[in-house]
Subunit: 363 residues, 4 copies
Amino acid sequence: MPGNTFGHMLRLTTFGESHGQSIGGILDGVPPGLHLCEADLQKELDLRKPGQGATSTSRVEADIVHIQSGLFEGMTTGTPIAFLIANTNQHSKDYDNLAKVFRPGHADYTYFQKYLGIRDHRGGGRASGRETAARVAAGAIAAKMLAGIGVEIMAASVELGGIPVDQENCDLSGALARPYFAASDQVIELWDQAVYEARKAQDTLGGVVQIEAKHVPAGLGEPVFDKLSAMLGHGLLSVGAVKGIEFGDGFTSARRRGSQNNDLLLAADTPGGSVRFASNHAGGILGGISSGQDIVIRCAVKPIASVPRPQKTVDISGNACEITISGRHDLSAIPRIVPVLKAMTSLVLADAWLMQQAICSSL
Amino acid sequence: MPGNTFGHMLRLTTFGESHGQSIGGILDGVPPGLHLCEADLQKELDLRKPGQGATSTSRVEADIVHIQSGLFEGMTTGTPIAFLIANTNQHSKDYDNLAKVFRPGHADYTYFQKYLGIRDHRGGGRASGRETAARVAAGAIAAKMLAGIGVEIMAASVELGGIPVDQENCDLSGALARPYFAASDQVIELWDQAVYEARKAQDTLGGVVQIEAKHVPAGLGEPVFDKLSAMLGHGLLSVGAVKGIEFGDGFTSARRRGSQNNDLLLAADTPGGSVRFASNHAGGILGGISSGQDIVIRCAVKPIASVPRPQKTVDISGNACEITISGRHDLSAIPRIVPVLKAMTSLVLADAWLMQQAICSSL
Amino acid sequence: MPGNTFGHMLRLTTFGESHGQSIGGILDGVPPGLHLCEADLQKELDLRKPGQGATSTSRVEADIVHIQSGLFEGMTTGTPIAFLIANTNQHSKDYDNLAKVFRPGHADYTYFQKYLGIRDHRGGGRASGRETAARVAAGAIAAKMLAGIGVEIMAASVELGGIPVDQENCDLSGALARPYFAASDQVIELWDQAVYEARKAQDTLGGVVQIEAKHVPAGLGEPVFDKLSAMLGHGLLSVGAVKGIEFGDGFTSARRRGSQNNDLLLAADTPGGSVRFASNHAGGILGGISSGQDIVIRCAVKPIASVPRPQKTVDISGNACEITISGRHDLSAIPRIVPVLKAMTSLVLADAWLMQQAICSSL
Amino acid sequence: MPGNTFGHMLRLTTFGESHGQSIGGILDGVPPGLHLCEADLQKELDLRKPGQGATSTSRVEADIVHIQSGLFEGMTTGTPIAFLIANTNQHSKDYDNLAKVFRPGHADYTYFQKYLGIRDHRGGGRASGRETAARVAAGAIAAKMLAGIGVEIMAASVELGGIPVDQENCDLSGALARPYFAASDQVIELWDQAVYEARKAQDTLGGVVQIEAKHVPAGLGEPVFDKLSAMLGHGLLSVGAVKGIEFGDGFTSARRRGSQNNDLLLAADTPGGSVRFASNHAGGILGGISSGQDIVIRCAVKPIASVPRPQKTVDISGNACEITISGRHDLSAIPRIVPVLKAMTSLVLADAWLMQQAICSSL
């Protein structure tokens, strides 16, 4: 209930503040017999660290993950997998001026209200984007579960500073090799330019991330309240900077007629093959349940709130004041949010798959 | 877990198929002492019935709600409130041709896959939009809980068939008095025309619904995974036709710079008053927790999949065929979805408020 | 959370007060393809109605169950199964004197405290034993799920009024054919005599119920907090009159030495057969997980609190007074509680089995 | 769902195997503003370590706890509290012979069945009693929450090796100062003798633990399925060695008549005071909800399964064999289980109290 646990049969519980001892989590429900090692988690965590393009902080976040439990002789045992990431590079002093002032666009004011004035202000405390490292570590395990049944999840930046990648040029499979984890080479120069200008203007940028899951079996997602889209929405909207989400053609679908938006079903092209679809406007989810088509999601990512210039605000006594945020901050959540959103997608799909097993195997 | 329950401290469990005996639900967690009667629920249900604009089906759905439990002498007792709505006007024969064919854009194929070929095809069974009546009934109770602390929730259609209401002309408070529950009088004629043309073209329309919650106390929503936006996203995306959602400026925020997107905090304008904000780009949620500003949400609603003309599809044996959907169908989920989305918003906010009570009162 | 839902993958939510419109519930998570009809539920409900031995009330509780959803052409569809039992024979007048007085041994005082003075006092309201009818109806569905994998659950009265059945004479399989659902014919006369004397003395009796589950597959139950014994304990202790529970030899085990209490493992007696055990002191559960042996549980059932003679108590203003409970009451919860405890056992085991499917089928 | 999380509003998730890196947990839902430090947890952990009487292992388990998160300037912040206890003194070699043989009375066979043959056999892995250290650490936090509202929880050994403390001599408040955490000085010599004889006989002992909670506010516990007794039963029966539980007079109540068993209500003895009860046969819980009387629970603790002498068993191939368990083992779970059972009681009561706040403060 208190909000730090996610999932049904596959459950992630996380902990940790930006400037505490460590952050980490417990992933419960991983079936026994999955080959797993720390390097599987570390590889994904390394994608989240600063340095993938021009937008990142100069903070060095080593983020070395240590697994505490749930493995034996290189395999999962079915018991909870706990993992820790030590906090090693905190400059708490950078945040001293934030103890008594609310940063605009941050959770400072709302945490103050929620927790009756008590909060760890250093680096944003629990509200820091740093908590997403735990999601990435756990998501790596979920992705490995899914890989075992052939599901592949990819994510890429498809818009930065208002400059989109054309949908027809989107190539998510090559994104990890590109700066910004961009979905296309064609935008790199434009994005570099946008970042340069924003930095010069002491400002920050937002963007859009696209996620695709391929070879998801049909039948995942639960009816009515726990539709696959609802669970994915829950998971992805729980990532701090995400302010919008759409499935398949999303808001564009809302402007279409039904005859344009329906994905017609076609007979399999080989005997005994799967039903095919003439299009994928629905983004792989029909009635809240996966159809076997690619799942396609886009997330709106707001610009980083920590703009490096003076802003008007109030202090904890309610008096007007001005704040200039120092510290070391990213210029955009793009691209570091990309592996985070991929991780949340993995967690949701692996959870839905486990739940479907109970149905599949009970007849 | 199996997906027909929603909420934490305030929990709604629903049941029912389109052509079964009845639909309904159990709302558990309503505190004792709330004045409540069937008319409170019926009033909201009446807003969902056909006839609010030109888009609706000619089906007459009386949808009379009967409360079974949880009330004593006109007040809630703290025990579960069960309610039933009989299914009275089913024309199951209209659906006979659907037993062996998958309708494009519907859940027929995915339910078939999920439940191993077993499904109640009549009227869409459990996947029918009819299940939303139970949400509306329960949402009316949640709304009454919230009204007791001054929270007011409004919803309106802000786009139909690609024709939007200008944001500056949006007046949600008057929507229930307008056709289509439109957010402005200015679009009514245009929407009538769009509906006329779509009907002539044997086609259907999508749209956008905006929801606003006023006077929500600051501090609602749980950190990390159960952010208020994540819970609202879960609830709203669980409504069948919703393919996208945005909070505050949403996808537009993704195109802004941080300095434009941050909502600056201002001192209260009266001694002892609340902090104010210079703008509300965030839609009333910061770091996943309510800020005390209006909560603003927009939902993309796809066009009705039941287009009244021949469509290519396959049958349950996988053979190509053609289907022409008869039956009585809405031309758009707008406006009947409006009270449904309002109901889901009410359920999430009332739940978040109950959870916050445990924190507020424990110090 | 608010307490009217039970189970994880198989979830029962119930509603209803003793003198409300109806009682009932929603069972969510039943897999598709189970043959089921109302008679399956009614048969178990009929075992709960008055008249199985001399202890019962003269109330006639028809308790006719009506399924509302989740079935199609005689089979479950995987969607929630809602069922209703109308309240038809209430004599609310019998309870008028209870509106302002707390009955000793009942929940009157504690509900009054919990719900801030608001309660439906008629017949005990939600705290009435009447709510157990919904458990029995749902348990019948769970039992049918289990029967499909060969699991058989039996329950019987093994003690009444301090007169036990000798363990060596226990025959649970024949209990439903005996008065009191007794585990042996040998006690019937003694129990008749005890009931006669208690009635003469205007008093009531308690007893002990034994439950056995045969052919439960090894491996059910989740480690640490959701051990099978913990889940069974949760379910069985949630039945009103149950004040104690023991698994296998239970409190007797606590008095033994380890060498006496361990169940030694033996090789299968046929090639490829299952491991056997030399004894079953553990009651079929080791480390919280089923071993494949019979699960054996005993529940202590307190005497009915509604004794038909004057008792000292206080009224809702806290003033001392005397109460004489009229109305029509059982002399013992034995035997009507027997099918209730069987139902709870069925629900827990079916839930544990569904959860285990996710693990079994994921490798 | 997977079983390593406990509680509703106050949720404990634990991890760790006997011979892994560390064990620990995350306690989520602790309200902000509670003064807390590692010493609060360490003090309770020290009560669990070997050496409280003659029954303990010669293993030295330092069990030093380290809090990772959720505290700021000596106070809880409302965010999850993670804690770790390193595993430092493992002799994994002692367990090498257990990799392929099932120990009688342990979870070896059932884990093998559940997890499809995959398990960490060293020291019992996840099924080791070592996991209870995490419960004790978390329980210390819950106890501190409860102390803030005046609730005091005590536990003591009331029976060892079949030698009980007379109920009238029970003094739980002095137990921590006595060997075996005994409820009375009168049994110490007898228990020493019983332990001496059991050790000589290469055998182990069981016993009974009594728990009392004083000054619990009336109104805790949720109706129907989450009765306070059901939640306590769930928590206490989830502790490995517990095979039975009773509330108040428990199994003795089952042998009484109603007139003997009802606790009559009496007027307050001072104006404005609380209602009193003439007795406490119910153990402080009526209809599943706390009455304000002392909560009284007794748990049956089976003898330690690791008897230090040859036992018949089978290996993982199903062949008959003999096992002699070496390693360092307690002779009884008494008294080390005492702080564990106290901890589980604290967790349940603190959780129930948080849930009740939502009701209390919502009117």
